[in-house]
């Protein structure tokens, strides 16, 4: 067992992160496993404290809070994963093109990326949402736009690095086209850093979604979402403090686990450290 842990570099904290992520996956795919209540049903009195019938109490309209947390996982992960995938899909070609082709294209792309990065993340997100209106899909596009520049830069950096090393090799290959070289060779070499970055991207995306929903510019009630639950909980800090505590705690735990998972992936795939 110890050898297994050592080989995969698993320490205590990583186990915790894996467990949480497993829980999240289950909550996303089979919420019914966790709760029998309907997150939309106004079943009881408002703002009841936790009890046998309602594990975490009820919200301001009498809906079961635990059910809303569980079903909220799906919406949060939808936005988190969706936006990160989109960011990656946009970021990879741009980063590759900028790094590999270089020259004027690189300058122009870099200036555009810089322009986007000169906005603090939330500011840019708020700006875009005010144009598109607030819903889950708009949020996916928005967060992707906010996140892709940093990602594209990293891909570009990796590309430059690999280009330098493999340049000589690349010129020797059998008349393969530039695009083929770009995507196949470089991408496969970049893969592990990209995957690591992806997990960190998801963590950031979840935080941004939560912030936007908290401002009232994200997922709208009655659709359950942790950020918007915190938005409503603000009004009831006196009556029901747990309403403010629990959704935020979920956000924290998921983001934390994602970050830890990303750290582990980085340790695990880092060629320098692999021999240890």
């Amino acid at each position: 067992m110890n050898a297994f842990f050592k080989r995969y570099k698993i320490r205590g904290i990583y186990l915790f992160a894996f467990a949480v992520l497993l829980l999240i996956v289950l909550m996303t795919l089979v919420p019914g496993l966790f709760t029998g209540h309907d997150p939309y049903e106004l079943m009881s009195d408002d703002l009841l404290p936790p009890s046998r019938q309602h594990l975490l109490g009820t919200d301001e309209l009498g809906r079961d809070l635990f059910a809303r947390i569980v079903y909220g996982t799906r919406n949060t992960m939808y936005v988190g994963l969706g936006s990160s995938l989109l960011a990656v899909l946009i970021g990879i070609p741009i980063g590759l093109a900028a790094g590999y082709i270089g020259g004027a294209l690189d300058s122009v792309l870099m200036r555009i990326l810089d322009a986007f990065m000169s906005f603090p993340a939330i500011l840019l997100a708020v700006l875009i949402i005010s144009v598109t209106g607030a819903n889950a899909n708009a949020l996916i596009v928005t967060i992707a736009v906010v996140n892709f520049p940093r990602f594209a830069r990293i891909v570009r950096g990796n590309t430059l690095y690999i280009k330098r090393i493999d340049y000589v090799e690349a010129t020797r290959t059998f008349g393969a086209g530039r695009t083929y070289l770009m995507f196949r060779t470089i991408l496969t070499n970049c893969l592990s850093p990209i995957v690591v970055q992806f997990t960190l991207l998801v963590a950031v995306a979840i935080l941004i979604e939560a912030s936007m929903s908290f401002l009232g510019l994200g997922i709208q009630p009655p659709v359950p979402a942790w950020g918007s639950m915190l938005h409503t909980a603000q009004l009831y800090l006196r009556k029901a403090w747990w309403y403010a505590f629990i959704p935020g705690f979920m956000i924290f735990v998921v983001v934390y686990s994602m970050n830890i998972f990303g750290d582990w992936l980085r340790d695990f795939t880092d060629p320098k450290k692999r021999s240890r």
Binding site: Y40, E41, L42, D46, E60, L61, G62, A134, G216, Q220, P221, P222, T232, Q234, L235, Y236, R238, K239
Partner: protein, 507 residues
């Protein structure tokens, strides 16, 4: 180095604790001595006022200035009875002739004296100028005016106006010649004289020493602070940096009630009501009264009352708020999903349908009401989409009547149903009734007849018609919550949420 950091951290902690303890006392001493020196009534207002012109400013947040800086000819007191203000009396000579008797020696803030010319000027301005169009419907029946003498004005109406006296409580009298300056400097006859406006900070008024009601106002200064966030209004009220708040967040009702230093007051709900306006032109199912009635059966109004209004609202069944003259109670519609399903089937929608409710952003009670209705509708197979709209988009939809159903609310400025008709009913008649001319004729008849059994009959008919075709629906009456410091006495608030502060004082 580390030790240095620890020392720094500890000293910061100590300093803050000392500050926390000490500063509190210093604060209280300050405010206590300030009160001995000068009594200041500080009111939190939901909006910053940038336009002080009584003709053009329409925000509700401006009303407190209308009655305490400016004044009207008559006012409603806390019991809802008409009282003299700038007019000592208004005599009805006959159905179409009224005489206004002005109070003598009333000074404006700029020193000039009020006389009949000012009254005529004010009314003329409203009747002729575009920008004052809001007030026009209230006095549109004035045909001509005569200045009998300095303190007497005669009004000749083109048709009887049963609510003329009530309308006179809404119009501020402006000194002829000052109308150009009013936007930046209000000049009225009221107990408080304008001092200055610091944008987003405060608007300050000082006691008008030459106010016609001698000995009043009793406080020295009146300050309005724009605090848009309801939470902040509450915390300021509790911290005593503000001693009067209108429209407190109802979520805080229970906690504020328990606070021994605060006095809470809810106005009579009978004239402020939630209005669901139906765009019958825009949606096939919504032009079917049976389908509409099914929608009302899906609304759990008891839950709306308890969740949205802390149980302080009042469930109405009728075409007007219950305080309106000639109000006729209609049949009660409770929360009955089975009945709703039956009605839907009868109307030809056994599988339900889908529609959108436009809700204005920033009002938690409205969002909750929408969700409660949505949950009920879902049980009957009707899919409600809630569209939360920012102010300008909501207004756009409202004016263009491009909504399916829009959530609005309305506070009647008087007891007369004609005011409700002017604003709410008339614009919706064309879309809802197959023969709109007949209905509009009834509305007009009600507007122009004097109080009599004939008028009662008109309104009885009108209300039955409305409840048969539902151009709009009134689910519930809303409370307005006021809060003030317990040592503040003499604040007069009538059932139309008009605030009169001239008798206010600190104990």
């Amino acid at each position: 180095m580390k030790r240095l950091l620890w020392v720094l951290a500890l000293s910061l902690l100590c300093a803050s604790v000392l500050f926390a303890g000490g500063a509190g006392e210093a604060e209280e001493q300050e405010s206590a001595s300030a009160e001995k020196a000068e009594s200041v009534l500080i009111m939190a207002n939901a909006q910053d006022i940038n336009n002080y012109n009584a003709f053009t400013q329409q925000y509700i947040a401006f009303e407190v200035i209308k009655y305490n800086c400016y004044e009207s000819l008559l006012i409603y007191d806390a019991e809802g009875k008409l009282q003299p203000s700038l007019a000592t009396s208004v005599d009805k000579i006959d159905d179409v002739t009224y005489q206004i008797n002005l109070r003598p020696n009333v000074k404006f803030h700029n020193g000039e004296i009020l006389n009949g010319e000012d009254v005529v000027f004010t009314f003329n301005y409203i009747l002729t100028q575009e920008e004052a169009a809001y007030y026009k419907p209230f006095i549109s029946m004035i045909d001509s005016m005569e200045i009998v003498d300095d303190l007497t004005v005669k009004l000749n109406l083109s048709a009887p106006n049963p609510d003329l006296l009530g309308s006179l409580t809404l119009i501020c009298i402006v000194k002829k010649g000052t109308e150009g300056r009013l936007e930046s400097t209000p000049i009225g006859t009221g107990p408080f004289k304008f001092v200055e406006w610091q944008p987003n900070e405060k608007t300050e008024f000082v006691r008008f020493e030459e106010y016609w009601d001698a000995g009043k106002p009793k406080v020295d200064r009146f300050v309005i602070r724009p605090l848009t966030d309801p939470k902040i209004q509450v915390t300021n009220l509790e911290a005593k940096t503000v001693n009067f708040v209108k429209d407190l967040a109802l979520e805080e009702y229970q906690t504020l009630k328990a606070n021994p230093d605060l006095e809470l007051f809810t106005t009579d709900t009978s004239n402020t009501v939630v209005v669901l306006e139906i765009g019958q032109n825009n949606h096939e199912a919504l032009s079917n009264p049976k389908a509409l009635e099914a929608l009302w059966y899906c609304m759990d109004r008891n839950k709306i009352n308890s969740s949205c209004f802390e149980g302080l609202g009042n469930i109405v069944n009728g075409a007007y708020p219950s305080g309106a003259k000639y109000f006729k109670a209609a049949k009660s519609i409770g929360f009955d999903v089975a009945k709703a399903k039956q009605l839907l089937a009868e109307a030809g929608y056994p599988d339900g349908f889908e529609f959108t409710l436009d809700v204005l952003v920033g009002y938690p009670w409205a969002e909750k009401l929408a969700q409660i209705w949505q949950a009920g509708l879902a049980q009957a197979g009707v899919d409600l989409k809630i569209a939360k709209l920012e102010a300008s988009i909501w207004i756009e939809h409202y004016l263009a009547r491009s909504y399916d159903v829009i959530l609005n609310w309305y506070s009647m400025p008087g007891l007369d149903p004609s005011t409700f008709d002017n604003t709410i009913t008339s614009p919706l008649v064309a879309a809802a009734f197959p023969e709109p001319e007949a209905v509009l004729a009834l509305v007009d008849a009600g507007k122009t007849q004097t109080d009599s059994p004939a008028r009662a009959k008109v309104y009885s008919q009108l209300q039955s018609l409305v409840m048969s075709r539902y151009p709009y629906y009134l689910p519930i009456e809303m409370p307005v919550l006021f809060g003030w410091a317990k040592n503040l006495k003499g604040v007069e608030i009538n059932s139309f949420q008009h605030i009169h502060l001239k008798d206010a004082y600190f104990e």
